[in-house]
């Protein structure tokens, strides 16, 4: 088992990992911007980093996307781009889809953006954004201004977004079920202030009717007020959220999330608290203090103040460069034993994108190691060890082949409870906002008769 873990960490990085996209985006500036030479902001105002907050409104990652995230989804990610493709990707189009003419000068017939705020008003009329409206008061030179992301509204007063996933699992039985249905709303009335609301369903693998009947369909998955875009991309938010910790993979089944009450698909992972930090170019630091519902109950769908006696705190810090990153996280909960007891969790994680350094190596790697303790019902400590690794190969634009491996020993004192899961699959993003992710998964458990394989596929529609 250890050998297998080492081998896959050696190869590794990518499930539906959005951190994967972050690591990949850094190799070309025009993944995130209309290219030409703009006036570079002062370091304190640069967003030129691979932190989650570059592509997502929530600095901790996931959910509603920023203009940069949406532009990446239109220009870089899909087979068929609806925004100008990054120049270095012009010869990486899927065969028969789009041109393969990297030699064409970028400026020949592609749109260019404004160099600075003074030039921005000239681009306002070119904005054509179906899901964003208005402009907040208080625009300053460090505000994202029109024209930097083609036709997208860079800094809207109101934005609507969504994530919908439909999944199918084939093993001894076959399941087709709704996995996610989230509608995001961001209200941004003035510069530095945003209210983010994410209303979603509690997806149930038992089917559509169980999902619709669930007491948490719909519910506030996130609801917080945030002041942000301060120097060095510092921010503070207060409300319901999932604390920043480790790699926020959107494969919520990875043991690095599930073993530590961080499975983002579950209502019970939501906490009520405050989080503050900065996600600069390139260091980052995030700290949170929170209250939570007891481990055995889900918080009220709408009352974000429905919490119990315990409290928790989390820290997440590191360095996210353009071609690599490294981070460490710690999270602790303190609560009565009958509410789940205390937990302490520590993580180190890293990513590497050789593609950033050498254009002929379209690989991306990421991995995380978590360890920690929780309390059994008896009060004794239960020691855990979990690892995750992933490697992606971006074969063409819109086609990513991947392998991922996660391994967990949920109780270091107990025999035969460890298991490892190998995934091999492909992500096809044919058109912006439409991703088909399919993978063969092999679960290896301590009892040889229990090891088994299944096939999992999901359609992810997002905007």
């Amino acid at each position: 088992m250890a050998l297998v873990a080492v081998v896959f960490f050696a190869l590794t990085r990518a499930a539906l990992a959005t951190p994967q996209y972050a690591a990949q985006a850094g190799r070309t500036c025009d993944s995130c911007h209309i290219l030409p030479d703009w006036d570079t902001p002062k370091l304190a105002h640069q967003k030129r980093n691979m932190s989650c907050g570059t592509c997502h409104v929530d600095p901790a990652g996931g959910g509603m996307r920023t203009a940069s995230g949406r532009y990446y989804g239109r220009a870089t990610l899909p087979m068929i781009a609806t925004s100008p493709r990054p120049q270095d990707d012009w010869d990486r189009n899927f065969p028969g889809v789009g041109r393969r003419d990297k030699a064409t000068p970028y400026e020949s017939y592609l749109p260019v953006g404004p160099r600075n705020l003074e030039q921005a008003p000239a681009y306002r009329d070119s904005i054509d954004d179906k899901w964003a409206w208005g402009t907040p008061k208080g625009m300053t030179p460090d505000t994202p201004f029109p024209g930097r992301h083609f036709k997208l509204n860079n800094d809207p007063m109101l934005r609507i977004g969504g994530d919908f996933r439909f999944a199918a699992l084939f093993s001894a039985s076959s399941l087709v079920f709704p996995m996610q249905a989230d509608v995001h709303t961001a209200v941004h009335p003035v510069h530095h202030a945003t209210l983010l609301m994410n209303v979603g369903a509690r997806g149930q693998s038992s089917g559509y009717s169980d999902t619709i009947d669930d007491s948490h369909t719909p519910y506030f998955r996130e609801l917080f007020a945030m002041t942000h875009e301060w120097p060095y991309q510092s921010y503070a938010k207060a409300g319901r959220f999932v604390p920043a910790f480790g790699l926020k993979l959107d494969d919520h089944t990875t043991r690095t999330r599930r073993e530590f009450e961080l499975d983002t698909s579950l209502p019970e992972t939501r906490v009520l608290g405050v989080e503050a930090g900065f996600v600069a170019a390139y260091p980052f630091f995030q700290a949170s203090y929170f209250k939570m519902k007891n481990k055995f109950e889900q918080p009220d769908p709408w009352d974000i103040f429905d919490v119990d006696d315990g409290w928790g705190t989390a820290f997440n810090a590191g360095w996210r460069d353009l071609g690599w990153s490294f981070g460490a996280s710690a999270l602790m909960r303190r609560r009565p034993l009958d509410q789940g007891g205390d937990t302490d969790t520590y993580a180190v994680y890293a990513s590497l994108n050789p593609w950033y350094f050498w254009q002929n190596i379209p690989l991306t790697l990421q991995g995380e190691i978590d360890t920690g303790t929780s309390q059994r019902a008896s009060g004794l400590d239960q020691k855990k060890l979990v690892m995750y690794g992933e490697v992606d190969w971006s074969a063409w634009n819109g086609v990513t082949l991947l392998t991922a491996y996660d391994w967990a020993d949920p109780d270091r004192d107990v025999i035969d409870d460890e298991s490892g899961r190998l995934q091999i699959g492909a992500q096809l993003t044919v058109y912006p906002g439409v991703t088909l992710d399919s993978r063969i998964r092999y679960l290896s458990v301590a009892t040889p008769t229990g090891s088994d394989t299944d096939f999992f596929t999901q359609l992810h529609v997002w905007f």
Partner: protein, 143 residues
């Protein structure tokens, strides 16, 4: 001094190798050699209730072992189809009747199937003790 991309990449690769060595060392550390029952007899209740067992079955099994089991579409527009020989575990009577079979399949890890997560040590011990106590349940009051 400005670092070349190759130097940066090499240093990052070294960091990755270090991470791998740490991962290997951690994973290689011998895990426990006792069952949960032996490690911590009080980890779960000595006399688990049917409600505790039912909660586990509902969360981990009923997504497949529901009333649509037996080869029929379970209806309701769920598009859930099951193999023909699967037993439903939705009622107390069904769970009590299949208790020993359930315990056997979860202990050898053949259920849940495929790459779905297996039951935790605590969940297995709850079901084991409930079966050993003659499956007390509302539908089986005097075992």
């Amino acid at each position: 001094m400005h670092k070349t991309p190759t130097r940066v990449l090499k240093s990052q690769l070294r960091a990755c190798v270090l991470l791998l060595v740490i991962a290997g060392a951690l994973a290689g550390c011998a895990s426990g050699d006792k069952t949960l029952d032996a490690v911590d007899p009080n980890a779960v209740a000595l006399n688990p209730t049917f409600d505790q067992v039912n909660a586990i079955i509902h969360n981990k099994c009923v997504m497949c072992h529901d009333s649509g089991s037996g080869g029929e579409d379970n209806g309701g527009g769920d598009y859930l189809r099951l193999e023909g020989d699967m037993q439903p575990f939705e009622t107390c009577t069904q769970i009590v009747a299949e208790a020993e079979s359930i315990l056997e399949r979860i202990q050898d890890n053949t259920m849940p199937p495929g790459a779905m997560p297996r039951l935790s040590s605590e969940e297995r011990l709850i079901i084991q003790r409930w079966v050993e106590n003659d499956r007390p349940a509302p539908c089986n009051p005097t075992p």
